[in-house]
């Protein structure tokens, strides 16, 4: 390690120090959240700042590989990479994490003395998620995945006295372990096929492909498929999505937004890293699979969302559909990374904002959020009602909202690069047509939510006013949803540089 080489791991270090500081403050100064809350907020903000610094460093001095272990038998094997992808991901994760943390503030109040634990779990999970996109080493990616997943298993079951919460945690744990195991198996098979665990650097997987003609790719293909399964599970792409509705519904509402948003960001970034950059030479092999996953996700997510009566489940299925739209962008290979970033970074805020509103409506520690809870929300609390309307419109992909730009960007990207299967010059046109149709069908349930919010309220009690942090989180999400719908260009220009090396 050279002096001054802290920047590439600054994001993780800040969050780790933050997590420990929160626990330490809680022990020393007392469990009142006013003591350790600011420390946690600072850690999230500091992480975002670290991302900004990385971004500046990358744009001035270029990307680089770091923490190369010397003298290890498989030669030089870098452990950390700092490039456009990881730096942009750090910014987005930091900001979404910060807003998600604010949205969870009421939940933190409700869990009382266990608050510091919840918050430090969130901090640790964020560090793990960023590790997934900031390393060229497949094993470290797996470690990051597990760090985040285990934290999330605990967060999902944080209200252990509630049946729903415990159930969701256990389901998440079992299925998540299965997916992790499959991912790890994929890593092992890839290692077996290429003799390397690292994507870049000396003796890397990319090296292997540039110097070797693979004549018998069976093991490699199986490895790729299994790694893809692991990632598809994390981003809740169909048919690996079933955990999502159950877990979203059971987990405490205040924290679902954080979990759902950040894991998607990291999952897609890891996809871009492993497949977009690492397996770039195999692009013609894996994009058809991604296209199939995208198609299945769009259809399954949209159609099943139509028949839900619980808003959390509805948003979970909508998340499945959105995973499909994002995967559509990735069918262009590494060229799809900008569209993926635009989509996932705006969508993450919508998710956080949407669940934050639900947590003010049904309580941050609630499990179920029946659609009726939203009845007449616009009248009961105009602020929350309108902001939720913006967020939902953003998800539905209405023009002048970020979701629309994201979808268009994604669709355009998918048709920009010639597709290998079925081979043609217009890319995955069939997928885009399907995506447009599903977007229209999806309007039905988004408008069902909006319609419910605008209906006349029953004699429901006045909505309890949410805490300032939660309101702030909702407002930020809505503002981002609207702002990048009207003025998308700055973000589009930024994501054009957010490439993996």
């Amino acid at each position: 390690m050279q002096g001054g080489a802290w920047l590439p791991i600054a994001f993780e270090v800040v969050l780790l120090v933050g997590a420990l500081a929160v626990l330490l403050v809680a022990v020393v100064a007392g469990r009142d959240r006013r003591f350790w809350g600011p420390a946690a907020g600072l850690a999230f903000a500091g992480a975002a700042l670290a991302g900004v610094l990385q971004w500046r460093e990358v744009s001035t001095s270029g990307a680089g590989l770091f923490f190369t272990a010397q003298g290890v038998s498989f030669a030089k094997s870098p452990m950390v990479v700092m490039d456009g992808l990881s730096a942009f991901g750090a910014i987005v994760l930091g900001l979404v994490g910060f807003v998600g943390f604010l949205a969870a503030w009421d939940l933190v109040a409700k869990v009382g003395r266990r608050g510091p634990e919840l918050v430090s779990l969130l901090l640790l999970s964020l560090a793990g998620l960023h590790m997934m996109m900031a390393t060229p080493n497949l094993v470290v990616i797996f470690l990051g995945l597990e760090t985040a997943s285990i934290s999330f298993y605990v967060v999902a079951g944080f209200l252990r006295r509630q049946k729903g919460s415990a159930e969701s945690s256990f389901k998440y744990f079992l299925l998540g372990s299965l997916a992790s195991a499959l991912f790890l198996y994929g890593v092992a098979l890839t290692f077996a096929a290429t003799g390397s665990l690292t994507l870049y650097g000396g003796n890397s997987i990319r090296d292997f492909f540039s110097s070797t003609i693979v004549t018998q790719p069976g093991i490699l293909l199986a490895g790729m498929a299994l790694m893809l399964v692991g990632i598809a599970f994390k981003v809740s792409a169909a048919p690996f999505h079933q955990w999502a509705p159950d877990v979203y519904q059971g987990a405490p509402t205040g924290a679902v937004g954080f979990m759902a948003a950040t894991v998607k960001i990291a999952g897609f970034a890891a996809l871009a890293r492993i497949f977009g950059a690492g397996l770039v030479s195999q692009v013609d092999t894996w994009t058809p699979i991604v296209a199939v996953l995208a198609a299945v996700s769009m259809v399954v997510g949209t159609v099943l969302a139509l028949v839900q009566s619980d808003v959390k489940r509805m948003l979970a299925y909508s998340g499945v559909a959105h995973a499909g739209y994002i995967l559509t962008a990735m069918t262009a290979g590494v060229a799809g990374v900008p569209a993926m970033w635009f989509y996932v970074s705006t969508y993450a805020f919508m998710v956080v904002g949407g669940f934050a509103v639900l947590s003010t409506v049904s309580g941050s520690d609630s499990s179920k959020v029946p659609l009726d809870d939203l009845k007449g929300l616009v009248k009961r609390s105009p602020e929350m009602g309108w902001l939720m309307t913006f967020v939902v419109l953003g998800m539905s992909g209405m023009p002048f909202f970020a979701g629309f730009v994201a979808k268009v960007f994604s669709f355009v990207t998918a048709t920009a690069v010639p597709a290998p299967w079925p081979a043609n010059d217009h890319g995955y046109l069939w997928l885009v047509v399907l995506g447009v149709v599903m977007s229209v069908v999806g309007l039905a349930f988004y408008f069902r939510i909006i319609g419910t919010m605008f209906s006349t309220p029953d004699d429901q009690a006045e909505l309890q006013e949410a805490g300032l942090p939660v309101r702030f989180a909702v407002i930020v999400s809505a503002v981002i949803t609207v702002a990048f719908g009207i003025v998308p260009w700055p973000l589009i220009e930024a994501v054009r540089d957010a490439f993996p090396i």
């Binding site: 790719p217 498929a225 079933q242 092999t285 058809p288 699979i289 139509l306 003025v487």
Partner: protein
């Protein structure tokens, strides 16, 4: 200083956001002071950045902020030239005073912080409109101005009249916006960009004078301007908009928003130069609007409605100025009018406040003693709008009329009508002034008028000083104002000045006209008993000649019928039928698919495993693994 210009938009926007979110915590007087402070800072920034233009040392420049839709030449950039600098100073300067005034005026309102949030939002929208460097961003500001004025007019939305007035303003403005929007499309089709500089530099080379495309564009732009600047036939929303709080009337309907149309046309001066037909239409419509509104104003009894119609009338003068090609004169009148009309509205507000929300002039009178500051400042504004030498209104109105006179020929008719309007203006303003401050007191019982608090009188005094002295910046002997604006109208031929002798003659004529109007007014209304005003003319003029009724019968009613038909027949049967058909199919599929989601972990794990196997097999087949 120009580095900070983006703050002109950012500060009011931040103020709006903070007042909206934290308003309740900031509390009553503080949220007002907060809003005022931000606008005042904006004014200082705008003023500082304009110093270069005063000194004649800086040139117009475009300050790039970030790209928005670069493909159509629509970047978020600031075009900083004397015209936008001037409008910036008016909007933030008058705006700051009106914020200050509202701190006292809105005292005790339930939604006090929200009011300031809306005011700040309005200033921000106006700044976007004014500072835009291209038509697209200007349109964004244009629409935001419409939105925030809607919010402000119907601020007391529990009052049905206020809600209706807000709706009316919105709908009528939409008609104008439609024109603007079509004009924008035409502009983009013609020039391939929205950028002001590119368009204005290329237009004279691409088209000769009188080209059809440019005529169409300018006429459509005028439709847009007629909506915002309340010209015939779209002026009907403005009198109703007086249902809003009085500071809103002053800010929106006198000083800033209504001038947006005039500003937009002045900005597009190059295009209007190329379209003499459009310019003629603009001038005629402006003159007729000035005349019609002045006649209606004569018979109004509600003090704010008099001022509303007088605003329309004065806007007519500005539009006339644009039409005759005297852009600087039009903008100059815009500037002085912003001062004295804001003052009139705020003074009227002060009176209304003192008489416990009495707006009927027949129940006022003899307020001179009770409200000395309001009286003196209002007197200045009254003389200014009447065109009395040497108040500001005299100089600017005279400039416009002189320009019409200088064109000669048929334009002389417009000059004569304009002079006639000046007479009527002097008359009805004297009527307003005398009925309010002079004569005998006709107050309701139990009302004891009192002077308003300091936060309300300070703006009055500041505006009063502006009203008296602003005109001296641009006398026929010293065209400081026109020189100031010159860089903004480079490439536009200004009307040639007349000889000093002729100008002096015109000025004397104008002053005589004003004095005649004032004397008639004073003789008629400075009396113990008000004259009887129930004759046929008075009734018809009071009802604004039934234009609203006409619109209602021939435009609104058929429109509503079509909408009803659509809502009751087309929508449920045709549209819903199609939508429901698709939805039923999808939901049917969903119900069936739902069975898969049983909640059993075993089953989920099995599905994951099956999916994984399928993926592996698929990849092997595709990748030639077998």
């Amino acid at each position: 200083m120009t580095d900070f210009l983006w703050l002109l938009v950012a500060l009011p926007l931040a103020g709006a956001a903070l007042n909206l979110i934290l308003g309740k915590r900031i509390g009553e007087p503080r949220s007002g002071w907060f809003g005022f402070g931000l606008i005042a800072i904006s004014f200082v920034i705008g003023f500082g950045a304009s110093l270069g233009f005063f000194a004649g040392t800086s040139n117009p420049q475009t300050i790039y902020l970030f790209s928005w839709i670069p493909a159509v030449g629509a970047d978020a950039a600031i075009l900083w030239d004397p015209l936008s600098a001037l409008l910036t100073m008016i909007v933030t300067g008058v705006g700051a005073l009106i914020h200050l005034y509202s701190i006292g005026y809105m005292h005790g309102d339930d939604r006090y912080p929200r009011f300031f949030a809306f005011l700040n939002l309005f200033i921000a929208s106006m700044m976007i409109l004014v500072l835009a460097s291209n038509f697209a961003v200007m349109f964004v500001g244009w629409e935001l101005v419409g939105l925030s004025s809607y919010l402000l007019i119907s601020f007391w939305f529990t009052k049905p009249e206020a809600a209706a007035a807000g709706k009316k303003a919105f709908v009528v403005n939409r008609i104008g916006d439609w024109g603007f929007l079509v004009a924008l499309m035409l502009i983009f089709m013609t020039f391939g960009t929205f950028d002001f500089r590119t368009i204005f530099e290329n237009a004279p080379a691409m088209f000769g004078v009188g080209a059809g495309t440019i005529t169409a564009i300018t006429l459509l732009l005028f439709v847009g301007a007629a909506g915002k600047s309340a010209q015939i036939p779209l002026y009907v929303w403005l009198p109703d908009a007086m249902e809003g709080p009085t500071p809103v009337s002053a800010l929106i309907h006198a000083a800033t928003m209504v001038t947006a149309g005039v500003f937009m046309m002045a900005r597009s001066a190059v295009l209007f130069e190329l379209a003499p037909v459009s310019a003629g239409v603009v001038a005629v419509v402006g003159t007729l609007t000035a005349l019609l509104a002045a006649v209606i104003a004569v018979a109004q009894t509600d003090i704010k409605r008099v001022l509303a119609y007088s605003t329309i009338s004065q806007l007519g003068y500005m539009v006339l100025g644009i039409g005759v090609g005297a852009y600087a004169a039009g903008v100059f009148h815009l500037t002085t009018h912003a001062m004295f009309k804001a003052l009139l509205f705020l003074g009227a507000g002060s009176v209304i406040h003192a008489l416990a929300n009495q707006q009927d002039m027949r129940k006022m009178g003899a307020l001179r003693k009770a409200m000395p500051i309001t009286f003196i400042t209002m007197a200045a504004a009254w003389l200014a709008i009447s065109g009395m030498f040497p108040f500001s209104g005299f100089w600017s109105k005279d400039e416009v009329l002189a320009a019409a006179f200088a064109r000669g020929g048929a334009w002389l008719i417009l000059y004569v009508i304009g002079l006639g309007v000046a007479l009527i203006t002097a008359f009805y303003m004297t009527r307003l002034f005398a009925m309010t401050f002079l004569g005998s007191s006709r107050w309701d019982e139990g009302v004891t008028p009192h002077e308003s608090p300091r936060t309300m009188t300070v703006p009055l005094v500041v505006l009063g000083l502006g009203t008296v002295f602003l005109g001296l910046f641009n006398t026929p002997a010293r065209h400081a104002f026109e020189h100031f604006l010159e860089p903004a109208f480079s490439g536009v031929e200004q009307v040639e000045g007349l000889s000093i002798g002729l100008i002096s003659t015109l000025a004397v004529v104008a002053v005589i006209v004003a004095i005649v109007g004032i004397i008639i007014g004073l003789r008629r209304y400075n009396t113990e008993v008000l004259p009887d005003e129930t004759g046929a003319f008075w009734r018809r003029a009071l009802a604004a000649f039934g234009v609203d009724d006409l619109y209602g019968r021939f435009l609104v009613a058929p429109g509503k019928a079509v909408a009803d038909w659509w809502a009751s027949v087309v929508d449920p049967k045709v549209v819903d039928g199609a939508v429901h058909g698709i939805a039923k199919g999808a939901i049917g599929g969903g119900e069936r698919a739902r069975a898969v989601q049983s909640g059993q972990v075993r089953w989920y794990a099995a599905v994951v495993a099956i999916g994984a196997v399928a993926l592996v097999v698929f990849l092997l087949v595709l990748g030639g693994g077998f």
